[in-house]
């Protein structure tokens, strides 16, 4: 039973990992930006499952609720705000930036692989280990209302500043 579970876990992980990579490749190659946005959702959902496999239930739920839900919606609205035909008409050629971007992406990939292979982990683990996190969202809540209470309250002010910014910059008539 244990081994079947492990194999199943691996299968799910591989499926999700490859689907998310595929989705990100499709995301950056589609001509229609709305399709790109849909692939972005697929990517977010796959990553959410990977979070679950890492016992991070809370982040998985946030990934679905906030990222796949609200943020993609905002992105779709932004796409709809833009005049995409104008961009096609202007025949904007991004050849060089594509080359530079690809080179940088490959370099970054090698950097990450090097980082994974070459670094020896320092061995320090935080107090919220996988075992503790797997049970519930309680650990997050306890951290939030104990150690992180002060930053938590500050976040509300940060959100208020963002609200004021959104209103003042995009409202048509101010007074």
């Amino acid at each position: 039973m244990e081994t079947i579970g492990t194999i199943l876990q691996w299968l799910i992980f591989l499926g999700m990992a490859f689907t998310s990579i595929l989705a990100s490749v499709l995301l950056i190659t589609r001509k229609n930006p709305i399709h790109s946005a849909l692939f972005l959702i697929l990517n977010f959902l796959c990553v959410a499952v990977i979070y679950l496999l890492l016992y991070s239930q809370f982040i998985a739920i946030i990934q679905v609720l906030v990222y796949a839900g609200a943020i993609v919606m905002l992105i779709v609205f932004v796409i709809m705000l833009l005049d995409l035909e104008e961009e096609l008409r202007s025949r904007l050629k991004l050849f060089y930036s594509k080359v530079i971007g690809s080179v940088l992406a490959v370099l970054f990939l090698f950097g990450l692989i090097y980082g994974l292979v070459a670094t020896s982990p320092t061995g320090k683990t935080g107090s919220y280990t996988a075992e503790k996190m797997s049970a519930n969202v309680k650990a997050v809540g306890e951290a939030l209302f104990n150690q992180y209470l002060f930053p938590f309250e500050v976040v509300s002010i940060l959100l208020v500043v963002a609200i004021i910014g959104a209103v003042i910059l995009s409202k048509r008539k101010l007074s």
């Binding site: 670094t119 935080g126 992180y148 930053p151 940060l158 910014g165 003042i168």
Partner: protein, 483 residues
């Protein structure tokens, strides 16, 4: 189950800033639309003063709280006093200016108060989460303020550019913080230092990358070369009062966080970051001063000059001794006075629609507006580092810190750079007094609040030049226990 410690007295200045921010915001929307809104500025000024009087009693207590998230040590409080002075003068100059440009909404003042709150969190944070949230609160407010002149293309461009590049820099900073957490398992600055020392992680690649990313993130906020590209465009396009706020407040807050993080969490890496910062410091001074010479717009010139000043401050950062860090605090306060003063003059000479911002527009105003031209001269000479003004003493402390730590070349390059800077500061003065006016400048409005701001800035500049010992001893007392 244990409950966290809460000491509201410790964060009283922050609470007051928040409360007044909301008060201004809601006072605007609840008052009739046709009414004159002059009282909003006064309300914000009251908020700053009250916050100031709640900051003063904390000085010397050196308390910290909120589970290692927040401290009210001398360093934080000195900077908080600086931020409050900056916000006070900014609001004073805004009262005439914002009215003139049609942006005197409650939001305008509320955002200034909220970004001041962000700055004081950056100075007081002893946990990277607090510092990061402070940075973001400050930055988002400033992005919006930079784009307040919605009809003006340059202002919109300024906000957009600042936002995109700023978000990118924030990404670097956040990545650096994440790597730091990955390597040490903590975000509390002291705990990080303890862990690095106990495990001897000096050659850990993760920490090295993190160090580079943190340097990029903070380097952007203080406008150091090569992360300065945004500065001239953003400073030129933003409303002038906000440019003044950015050049003084944001820079000071950036230095606050930089010093706090590097000296508290990463002191073991001092040899590494000293060499990086040496290069950045020299590049920042040199690029700032040389490019400033060729500017024709006064706001752009002051932008490059503010880049150069970041370079001078970094000289003391490289030195990193007691006199250096207290010199930085002194410098930030002196720079606040002289730079806000210079921008006040720019505002007083300007007209609706950001007119009269070319340097040639200053020709001959020495005869027509002698007092204004004299004040502008004082501020520019102070920035150039001419005695007996505040800027001179600030430079003396900064360079002598470098000499004391045997960074002779750095000090020499700094002095040479100051000499170069005299050229472009004096050019404006020469234009004001020795040239015929190119075109008639008429119809200037001297709002009483702006004149008051000018007087405060003049007093500050002269006081810090003539009686530097008082402020310096305050600064020296403030950094006890930081390092």
């Amino acid at each position: 189950m244990k409950l966290p410690e809460i000491d509201l007295y410790l964060i009283a200045p922050e609470i007051i800033l928040t409360a007044f921010g909301f008060l201004v915001l809601l006072a605007d929307v609840f008052s009739p639309r046709t009414e004159k809104k002059g009282y909003l500025g006064i309300l914000s000024l009251i908020g700053i003063v009250v916050a100031f009087f709640y900051t003063l009693p904390l000085i010397g207590s050196g308390k910290s709280g909120f589970e290692g998230m927040f401290t009210a040590d001398g360093f934080a409080l000195f900077l908080k006093v600086t931020f409050l002075i900056i916000a006070f003068i900014t609001i004073l100059i805004s009262m005439g200016y914002a009215e003139r440009e049609g942006i005197a909404f409650g939001e305008y003042y509320a955002l200034i108060l909220f970004s001041t709150l962000g700055m004081s969190l950056m100075a007081s944070g002893t946990h990277l989460i607090t510092i990061f949230l402070g940075l973001e609160t400050m930055s988002i407010a400033i992005y919006v303020l930079a784009g307040m002149l919605r009809e003006d293309r340059r202002s919109v461009e300024s906000a957009f550019k600042y936002f995109l590049l700023g978000a990118f820099a924030t990404g670097f900073l956040l990545y650096g913080i994440a790597l730091l957490y990955g390597a040490t398992g903590s975000l509390q600055l002291k705990e990080i230092a303890t862990y690095i020392a106990s495990k001897n992680l000096l050659r850990n690649p993760m920490l090295m990358i993190s160090l580079v990313f943190l340097t990029i993130g903070f380097g952007f906020k203080i406008a150091s070369v090569p992360f300065h590209m945004w500065t001239p465009d953003v400073y030129e396009g933003a409303p002038t009062s906000i440019t003044a706020f950015m050049a003084t407040g944001v820079k000071a807050a950036g230095f606050a966080a930089l010093i706090r993080v590097f000296f508290t969490a990463l002191p073991q890496f001092r040899p590494d970051w000293t060499s990086i910062m040496w290069l950045i410091s020299v590049a920042t001074m040199t690029v700032g001063n040389i490019v400033a010479i060729s500017q024709s717009n006064i706001k752009r010139m002051l932008a490059y000059s503010s880049i150069a000043h970041a370079g001078y401050i970094l000289v003391a950062f490289v030195a990193g001794n007691d006199i250096g860090i207290s010199g930085i605090l002194f410098y930030l306060m002196a720079y606040a006075f002289m730079n806000l003063g210079a921008f006040t003059c720019v505002i007083l000479l300007g007209k609706k629609g950001e007119e009269n911002t070319l340097i040639t527009d200053y020709s001959g105003i020495g005869f027509k507006y002698p007092l204004l031209a004299a004040s502008m001269t004082v501020f520019l000479l102070s920035m150039a580092g001419i005695p007996p003004l505040g800027g001179f003493m600030a430079k003396v402390y900064v360079f002598s810190a470098a000499v004391k730590e045997k960074f002779y070349w750095l000090a020499i390059l700094g002095v040479l750079n100051s000499a170069v800077s005299v050229y472009y500061y004096l050019r404006v003065t020469v234009l004001m007094y020795f040239r015929e006016p190119q075109r008639e400048i008429t119809g200037l409005q001297f709002s009483p609040a702006s004149v008051l701001a000018l007087i405060i800035a003049l007093i500050g500049t002269f006081y810090m030049g003539l009686f530097p010992a008082n402020v310096l001893s305050f600064a020296q007392k403030s950094i006890v226990g930081l390092m």
